[in-house]
Homo-oligomer: 234 residues x 2
């Protein structure tokens, strides 16, 4: 391994390291030279090498541990990034007009499945909302929203006839942890009507559980219109 030309940027170093991994110059599960040695080889500094390796680890190619060193992962774990935006923004980004409609709002005791989903032993007191989001007056998403009243002070005073629960929540309560689930579900008769779907038609469905330091804040199930596709690149 001869010394390459100097003045390598951290991007250059990332590229070279990735090449050597794909080359199998550095085999899976093997250790890379330490940062000081690599800096010497690249006529660079530890800071620059550090940034290159840190980002490659972040991208799933390397594993880094103090004392042990930097190891090539045998099955690089790539990650796709999915942008989580407000439904309003997702719709207006396509150039369509956004419309929101509140179907119903009811204070109630949460059902058992909800307590289980929120890791609660007792059924929480919740505000249960159903609403629709439209793009150019075509059904876009049906939202089934449950908000834990104890966790969200002021929620009973909010007016959800004009603003969607998600938009209200993001500016009203902080959160620390979110679990997102995607699945295919069968359209129920109730939802069918709002989404203009056929009976039993497959729907792309997302569920989101939001926590604030271990306390559950809200659970939402969102059914997208038939034919919806979630697209991402990496």
């Amino acid at each position: 391994m001869t010394t390459p030309a100097a003045n390598l940027s951290y991007r250059d170093i990332k590229r070279i390291v990735l090449e050597r991994i794909k080359n199998r110059t550095w085999l899976p599960d093997s250790l890379l030279p330490n940062e000081t040695d690599l800096a010497a080889e690249f006529s660079s500094t530890r800071t620059t090498v550090n940034r290159a390796l840190r980002e490659l680890a972040e991208e799933g190619y390397l594993e880094r541990k103090r004392k042990t060193g930097t190891r090539v992962l045998n099955a690089p774990v790539r990650h796709a990034r999915i942008a989580i935006s407000l439904t309003r923004d997702e719709i207006t980004a396509t150039g369509a007009a956004y419309r929101y409609y509140l179907i119903s709002s009811k204070r109630q005791s949460g059902p058992e499945w909800l307590a289980a989903r929120l890791n609660l032993k007792q059924s929480p007191d919740v505000l249960h909302l159903k609403c629709m989001h439209y793009a150019d007056n075509k059904p876009f998403q049906f939202e089934d929203r449950w908000i834990v009243i104890d966790s969200v002070p002021g929620v009973l005073d909010a007016d959800f006839s004009e603003i969607g629960p998600n938009e209200w929540l993001v500016q009203a309560v902080p959160f620390t942890n979110v679990e997102l689930t995607f699945q295919a579900t069968r359209a129920t008769p109730y939802v069918t009507e709002f989404l203009n779907a056929e009976q039993d038609e497959p729907l792309f469905t997302a569920e989101r559980v939001t926590w604030l330091q271990g306390r559950p804040v809200t659970f939402a199930r969102m059914h997208f219109h038939p034919g919806y596709r979630m697209v991402t690149q990496y």
Copy 2:
């Protein structure tokens, strides 16, 4: 805004900046002080402030541009990270045994929809594979795979009866760009049989198009077993 205690790490600075955004000390669409001034306020250096702001931008809270400065985004775009691993690894990670089965393999001219999907004007010469992935002998995923022969030298010599096309491809050809799509589809009679699904049952379906510097490499459609959920956190 008085000067806080010194010795703030970039993590501390991230936390403080985030607080001020949620506080509305710094309003959406407004500009933050420049890095030099922030470094002075935090009794830190530009390097440290830079890392904090860079990561917050990466996480979707800020937008940074030279000359203009650093701006608070009005609708922070959060991102969920979805780990993309080999089906084998996804299965063995749950403790289940992995089994792979090649249903069919055929060299053919790609259909029109495939050419369109790959941005090609002419139908490419492709290798078309169908295969199954099992977890503990239960159907896990049906894979419909199309490989552009011109883009993948040696693919005709590969033996896909033992190794899945994705596993073979990741170690045989590099790629630069991947487009991933998720949707809900209706189980076709053909797939129904392999996935042990009911007729018309909703299936969670992923499609992946892979490119190497503008040249299409492969297209895959993967139907997951009924009830499959893709889970992620952020």
